[in-house]
Each structure stands twice: as C-alpha cells, then as structure tokens.
Amino acid sequence: MSDIKSRGYAHPGVLVSTQWVADHLDDTGVRIVESNEDPLLYPSGHIPGAVEVDWTRDLNDQVCRDYLQQEDFEELMSRIGVTPDTTIVFYGDKNNWWACYAFWVFQLFGHKKCKVMDGGRIKWEKEDRPMTRDVEKYPPTDYRAPERDDATHRAFRDQVMEHIDDDGPLVDVRSPEEYSGERLHMPDYPNEGALRGGHIPGAKNIPWARAVDPESGTFKNADQLREIYEKEQGLRSGDNVIAYCRIGERSSHTWFVLTFLLGYPRVRNYDGSWTEWGNLVGVPIEK
C-alpha cells in the first residue's frame, strides 16, 4: 500500500506523490500545473513539462471581484493543452496553498480529473528532482466547459447569513490573532482592507496550515486531521461546512482537506471572506 493510501483518507486518489509525478512526466494524459504566490517562482525553475496557472491573471476576472467565466476557462484549458480527459496535477509553493486554490476554481467548472501533488514544490525540490526553466508549449485543445457552478463549492454572503441562522458550522482558517480581532491582518502585515476585526459569529478557528506536517509539507493523515477538526473543534463528518479566510485562498486549502481527505459531504468556500464580511454594513461579528 502506498504511503498516501495508508493514511486513511476518504478519497486518497486525489493526492499523488512526487514519485508518481516523476513517473508520469512523459504521460500525455497528465498535465502538471504549478500555481504559486510568488510570480517569479515558476520561471525560476519548475517540474519539466509543467505549465503555470497564475491566480491573479488566469483565475480571476480582471474587472469584477469574481472568478473567470466559462469562456475564459475554456480558453485557459485550451492554452495549457488540456482536454476533459486530461488528469491535472496541481502543485505549488506554501504547502500547496495556491495549488489548492487553483484546484478549487477548476472544480467550479467541473473538471473532475484533478489531483494535488502531496508536499508541493518544496518537497520536489528537497528530493533533488529535475527542474527546468524551459516552458513547454502544448497544442491548443478545443475544450468545452459547462457554465460555472457556484452552488456546489462556493458560498456567498447571503448563504453565510442563512448558515449562521441554521447554526451551521463555519471554519475560520486565519491566524488566531485575526480571528480574535486583535489584528485586522496577518501577523506583521499591514492592514489588508477590513474595517472591523473579529470573526463570523459561531466560526471555529482552525488555521489552514495545521492540516500540513510542517517538516515534510505533506498532508497529515486522516486520524491526525480528525483530531484537529473533530475532536478538538467539534466538527462532525456529516456536517455542511463553510470555510473562509481573507479572500478565500487559504480556505480553499481547508475546503480541499475537508472535502477530499476527510470526505465531508458538503463544504463550501466563502471567497468573499473577511475582506467582505469585515466591511459589510449591518452584519454581526464576534470577537
């Protein structure tokens, strides 16, 4: 049994190891996608054959605060040479924080064959696996995507309000200081745009990075995750959960963990997150 399969995840097939990726570098049915916070990281060297998906340029609408639309997604998929049958493997910096964000956006368009490389970029580098600066160009494809489905994996502010009324579980994945309202921003960072400090009423504070082993950068096993999310914070495996952070990027990592590693039936990411809720007129907060 592989290391990943032995960890007790609900959907272990969503994770692949660095060795699996190394074994599939020439697999035409696999496209490796790097997604980072640092825009210079991919050009500085990446897994051979990997393409870059940039979260600001490729995943966001350039005018509206929203994600790309169906036509733009089709264009993106065509550019990176992907068909609906292509298995996409995401990896990136910061414990796959941005890789999970890209993965989440791809789910809004229903691309089912998505995986994450466990341990991310740092693990690949530490293992001295090959890196290149060559940017591979793939023949464009004729990719047809469905309309973006916001209902399944995404939550909006009115739905969060209803969720509060229903006493539904909310997970705030920001730092404890942001959660408590002591800070309006990450430690050592200036204010990032919220007028009020605190959290959405009823939210549990489970910082996103707790799901990752700090030494290896790989995801913790299912028992360790259940210890954090369920025994410590009281979530239950059948829960309908909404996760949020500041703009929905860190919480997409937690969405990934709860949905695929622990198998929660319904997890939504509130991407409006604290930059919306902390500025909204007339909504309650807790400190």
Binding site: E37, D38, D93, E125
Partner: protein, 152 residues
C-alpha cells in the same frame, strides 16, 4: 521633496520599457540570479533577529554598513531558497540604495514594489517586499538621526 536614488529610478524606467509580463519577469529573474548574499565579513549566521524583515516569508535580512561619507551600504540575506522575488528586490535595493544620499533612500515611495513587480502580486507578497523597503528606509532614518544601525 527629495528624489529617489538615481539607480532606482533607472531600474524603474528600464522595467517600464517592458510592459508585458513575460519580459518583465525575465528581467526580474536575471536580477534575482545576480543576487549575492551578505558576505561573512559583514554578518555571520545565525543572523540577529533585529535584522530580520518582518512579515517576509522569504526570511529576508537587511544589514546596513556605514561608509566613510556617512551614507550606508546595504547587504541582504534571503534564507528561503524559494524567495526569488525577495532576491530580486534585495538586489535592486542593494544596487540602488547603497551609497545613495540618505534623504533619497527615505524618499522611496511606498508603491515601489508594484512599480517593480507589477500589480499582479498577492497582498502578502507585496507586504513582505514592501517591508524590505521599509527596513532599508528605517536604517537610513536612524543613520540620519545619528543612531547608527550598522552591522559589524
């Protein structure tokens, strides 16, 4: 109002010649590749915590060294090998602010990071890089006030 260091203005002007993202990234990559970490005669590991740039996940450190003319040379360390943008920023600040008039270093505007890297930066990345600039400026202010912050 004081001008910014001449070499920094040159860098910004050069980058402005490359409005497309790919060319700009190529130029910044070359800059990051030319980054040289702080020499041992200036600072040895473990570096003092007071030299660490707050909020910079690339684990950047700034080391000012006073010159005979009272101006400062700046050296940097970037301990996270994935801190490519921090290395590029460090190289730009080292080249442009070392030996520059202190008032010009202090006059570097807050939006310099966006001017260098473009606006497609995450808030966190922008803040980490901006804090590098702030730390350099704080050292210049201390030097101007006679509170030497030089590393030796």
């Amino acid at each position: 109002m004081a001008q910014i260091p001449e070499k920094l203005q040159e860098t910004i002007d050069n980058l402005a010649l490359f409005p497309d993202r790919a060319s700009r990234i190529e130029l910044l990559m070359a800059t990051a590749d030319s980054f040289k970490p702080v020499p041992e005669e200036v600072a040895k590991r473990p570096f003092k915590e007071e030299r660490r740039v707050k909020g910079c996940e690339s684990e950047a450190f700034v080391f000012p060294v006073q010159r005979e003319d009272g101006r400062l040379d700046f050296h940097f360390a970037v301990e996270n090998p994935q801190g490519i943008s921090a290395m590029a920023m460090a190289r730009i600040l080292q080249d442009s602010c070392s030996g520059a008039p202190l008032e010009q270093v202090i006059a570097v505007p807050q939006d310099i990071v966006y001017k260098i890297f473009g606006e497609e930066l995450s808030m966190g990345k922008n803040m980490g890089l901006t804090n590098m600039v702030f730390m350099v400026q704080n050292e210049a202010r201390k030097q101007q006030a006679g509170e030497t912050g030089s590393e030796q």
